[in-house]
């Protein structure tokens, strides 16, 4: 038994990809981060928590292979391994699709917990692609999280909603409710960042957003045509042709794994202010 211990994998980490505001890039980010983790050999599953509005399967290109879903598993109609879809490109990447026909009430706290516990034993990373909003669906997607990626666009309503979500992460999660537990580790992923508009003073800067939200920065994903193209063909952007957005997600994943990577924008190295102010080593 003791000899076996070394081989045993540590329990997987649960990371919620959340935002409050809709359409900011949660599903795009879930697919990209999931694929980037899997590329590094980490066994990763991405769960679609957006019950009734299944979309992760499309973005990950497995929409024609959905048999059973998360809700079937929760309701005991299918076993977890029957519902998991293995990616055709990366054998360490899996998708747990959600139901297209049920509603959010089909998710129960106990059901979600049971599925996540089972996945923890099998996977290194469990990503929860949250629905928009701060209601039940979003709260269930964050409840058991160890970490959170708060996807934020540099515009007022997105930043405001991210702030609400950060509040919920600190108060309405299992970690928040457990005496003595570390809080959920939350980091901001700034997406759809348009350097030209920031330059013209039309869009808030990274510094502006971080000053308001006061949590660490996981990465900056530029507004990029590569994202739409990748979604057209069902390819997570990090698996598609090299792009600034893909590189930004790769960097974000390095940071998620605790590596120190300089903040850069649109493929250009940009030492200087970001590094000094927000670099993890600073």
């Amino acid at each position: 038994m003791t000899a076996e211990l070394k081989k045993e994998r540590p329990m997987g980490r649960i990371v919620t990809i959340t935002s409050g505001k809709g359409g900011v890039g949660k599903t795009t980010s879930s697919a990209a981060i999931g694929a980037a983790l899997a590329k590094r050999g980490l066994k990763t599953v991405v769960i679609d928590f957006d019950v009734g509005l299944r979309n992760l399967d499309m973005i990950m290109g497995c929409e024609r292979r959905v048999v059973f879903d998360f809700i079937n598993v929760i309701q005991g109609d299918a076993k977890l391994k029957q519902a998991l879809i293995r990616d055709k490109r990366l054998d360490t990447l899996y998708v747990l699709p959600t139901s297209q026909t049920r509603d959010k009430d089909s998710l129960t706290l106990e059901g979600v917990e049971a599925v996540l516990e089972e996945l923890r034993g099998e996977f290194d990373y469990i990503l929860c692609d949250s629905p928009a909003g701060i209601e039940r669906g979003a709260q269930l997607a964050m409840h058991f999280a160890d970490e959170a990626v708060v996807v934020t666009n540099p515009e007022v309503s997105s930043v405001r909603d991210s702030d609400r979500v950060l509040g919920l992460l600190n108060s309405r999660t299992k970690r928040a409710e457990t005496e003595g537990a570390e809080p959920v580790k939350a980091q901001v992923l700034l997406t759809r960042y348009d350097a030209a508009r920031v330059g013209k003073g039309e869009m808030m800067t990274v510094e502006d957003v971080l000053e308001i939200l006061a949590v660490p920065l996981l990465g900056i994903v530029p507004e990029s045509q590569a994202v739409l193209k990748a979604s057209n063909v069902g390819m997570p952007v990090v698996l598609d042709a090299p792009s600034a957005a893909g590189a930004a997600y790769e960097d974000a994943v390095s940071r998620l794994l605790g590596e120190e990577v300089e903040m850069r924008l649109a493929g250009e190295r940009r030492p200087g202010i970001f590094q000094r102010l927000f670099g993890r080593g600073a």
């Binding site: 076993k79 029957q82 057209n232």
Partner: protein
């Protein structure tokens, strides 16, 4: 005149997106195959279970939906030395 003839049709990613959606939505609109799959699975287990000793977890159903046809792949694992057992209803 078809609109398509005004612009050359290349194998663009937008065209791929359209085709993926057409196939998916055709299946989704046609009626919910997927909703019946748990029942299908239960029935298969029951029928096979009358003849072979199988575990309800040993069934694996995979699907691939296509434009012209879809395929359903059903794998059932059972112990090699399985003996036929008396009919049973579960």
């Amino acid at each position: 005149m078809r609109l398509g003839s005004l612009w050359p049709r290349k194998a663009s990613t937008a065209q791929t997106a359209k085709e993926r959606l057409q196939i998916l939505l055709a299946h989704e609109r046609a009626g919910r195959v997927a909703d019946n799959l748990p029942a299908l699975q239960r029935d298969i287990i029951e029928v096979i279970g009358r003849h072979l000793k199988i575990d309800s977890e040993a069934i694996d159903i995979r699907m691939e939906q296509g434009r012209d046809y879809s395929s359903l792949e059903i794998n059932i694992e059972f112990p090699a030395a399985s003996e036929p057992k008396a009919p049973s209803r579960r």
